[in-house]
Amino acid sequence: MSALLKRSETVIFLVLLAAVIITGLLNPAAWQLSNIFSLLRANVITGIMALGVLVVMISGGIDISVPYFAMAAMYVTILGMLKTDYAGIFLPFVVSTAIGLALGGLNAFFVHTVRMIPMIVTLGTGTMVRGFLLGVIGTSNINRDQMPGQLIDFASTALVKMQAPDGSTIELSAMVLIYVALALVVHFILAHTMIGRGLYAMGGDREAARRAGFNVRRITWFAYCLSGALAGFAGLLYVSMSWLANPRDLAGTEMDLLAAVVLGGASIFGGRGSVLGTMLGVFMLVLVNNSLIILHVSTTWQRVAVGLIVITACAVTAWRDRRAAAA
């Protein structure tokens, strides 16, 4: 029992549970099925991108270029689809993911070969890619009537569909399944493969991992490329779900991603973190924003709330680590 309580996943889960119960008591609308479904849907994009950030963080790095890679991969893919009048779904996602993967390789190169601090590298690549996207490729929005219809249809697929008492339809987006599937894949990689072991080992102690025979170069490339690929995939899924391709979107959300992953118990120094924790961390951020709206708090307070949560969570983690080190 005490071992279970010590896990950060358990702590976040309990905090989440308390938050859900309190908001529900203050405003029963929070417990309506439609709200719960929309909450789950709101997890998808942040969640997929956070999985990539998690993998990089476990390896001892940091990746703040994710939202910019997502937008670049998405926008280039959509423009290509419009140019060629392409009507499929599968290929565009492959292309967007591949663009993200290639951009992730750029990060890996600078982190591994140049040995620069990942924070600085990804700040540089993120800005560079965003500058190139908006300065060279284009800045115009692609809205509902220009967007490829099949992408919108695909992203509107519902998993559960039912009639609410007031006659409106409530549906759970099937995109939640994609998120869960990707999370399971990443969990499997982390927990059951050699490269997963390597990620934790390298994050714990890079030199020790190298001497133990892990190929640190391959692990670094794997982490950043996976993060980039997930970003590219999430980018296209995001615009399919929101019906609008705006290359300026998601700027600044890199901080939310880091916050979610750190809230989920991952260590910024590497070597620690789990998929379940990250998913709970993402859910926490989504819930905070949702609860503030439900409780009729002005949305301008969102940033303050997120900032305070991040600071508190980091302070608690730091305090716990120090106590563990002293014991």
Partner: protein, 331 residues
């Protein structure tokens, strides 16, 4: 390959400074060659002396946090918060617009400056406490406080800009003194003070030691917590002065002004020879890097490159510079 080898031998210990001077001269020559009639106009250089100090102050703030291996990602939030609080104070004193606001006296302006710098000191102190007392990693602590400070800006303003500052405040960002831009003079004064502080006082030397080897510094009896705390307080203060200059120059303050300055400040600091892992930094290097980059971006803007493209060039520049430095240091 071979000329890099010769260059390395040529520039030995102060290699970084020499490299920066060479870079500045090359960029200057390049821009002059590309569009001499536009680039070499006095007006161009004059407008640079009003623009550069904001970024310069933020870069020195970033450098201060990097000396001990940290980083301050909250500088933009602090600067904007300082401008917004001062603006709201002026609006409370002289109304939201009209001659009463514009004509607010020197005493009120001084209080506004005190509010702004006070904001920076408090914000920096909060960062410092989180990092040194609660032992939160600087990246995470300042990501959290960046959200917090920007959040407070949004709560205070509701989103839109605080427009309209007294004439006396705008003068800080727009007037000339002894034929030079007032912001430039302020920046040079701050830069000189920081340089003296880093090289001639126990605090500066302690910071360098902590950045070089935190453990050794601890065993040497340096009260590192306090020195690091002071460096973040200073970083906050510099960010708030940048906020004063920015809001004075554009006569407005907003939660998301100057967000592209964050990368640029990191870039200037790193390009200026600051080691982001700590222990190495010079104010002179940062000033030189600032000059080089201002020449570069002003030249590109004159050639009608979009701002986004300038961002792209800055980002590429950062990556190229760290690559060159990495190969140079490895040799």
């Amino acid at each position: 390959m071979s000329d890099r080898f010769d260059l390395r031998r040529l520039v030995n210990h102060d290699a970084n400074l020499v490299q920066l001077v060479v870079l500045t001269v090359v960029i200057f020559a390049l821009m002059t060659a590309l569009s001499p009639e536009k680039f070499l106009r006095a007006y161009n250089f004059e407008s640079m002396t009003f623009l550069a100090p904001e970024l310069g102050l933020l870069s020195i703030a970033m450098m201060l946090s990097m000396i001990t291996g940290g980083i301050d990602l909250s500088v933009i939030g602090v600067g904007n918060l300082a401008g917004i609080l001062a603006g709201l104070f002026f609006h409370a004193m002289g109304g939201t617009h009209g001659p009463a606001l514009a004509g607010l006296g020197g005493g009120i302006i001084a209080i506004g400056v005190a509010i702004a710098i006070g904001t920076g000191l408090i914000a920096g102190f909060i960062n410092g406490v989180l990092i040194t007392k609660l032992h939160i990693t600087p990246i995470l602590a300042t990501i959290g406080t960046a959200q917090l400070y920007v959040g407070i800006c949004l709560v205070l303003t509701g989103g839109p800009a605080v427009v309209g500052f007294p004439n006396g405040w705008d003068a800080i960002g727009n007037t000339k003194l002894f034929g030079l831009a007032l912001p430039l003079l302020l920046f040079l004064a701050v830069a000189a003070l920081t340089a003296v502080l880093l090289t001639r006082t126990p605090l500066g030397i302690n910071l360098m030691l902590i950045g070089t080897n935190a453990r050794a510094a601890l065993f040497a009896g340096i009260r590192s917590g306090r020195a690091v705390l002071v460096s973040y307080v200073m970083s906050g203060a510099l960010a708030s002065i940048a906020g004063i200059l920015l809001s004075g120059r554009v006569n407005a303050a907003k939660a998301d002004y100057g967000t592209s300055y964050l990368l640029e400040a990191v870039l200037v600091a790193v390009l200026g020879g600051t080691n982001p892992s700590g222990g190495k930094a010079t104010v002179l290097g940062v000033v030189l890097a600032l000059t080089a980059l201002m020449l570069l971006s002003s030249g590109f803007q004159l050639m009608r490159f979009s701002n986004f493209l300038v961002d792209f060039i800055w980002g590429s520049f950062l990556l190229i510079v760290i690559t060159i430095n990495a190969f140079r240091n490895r040799g």
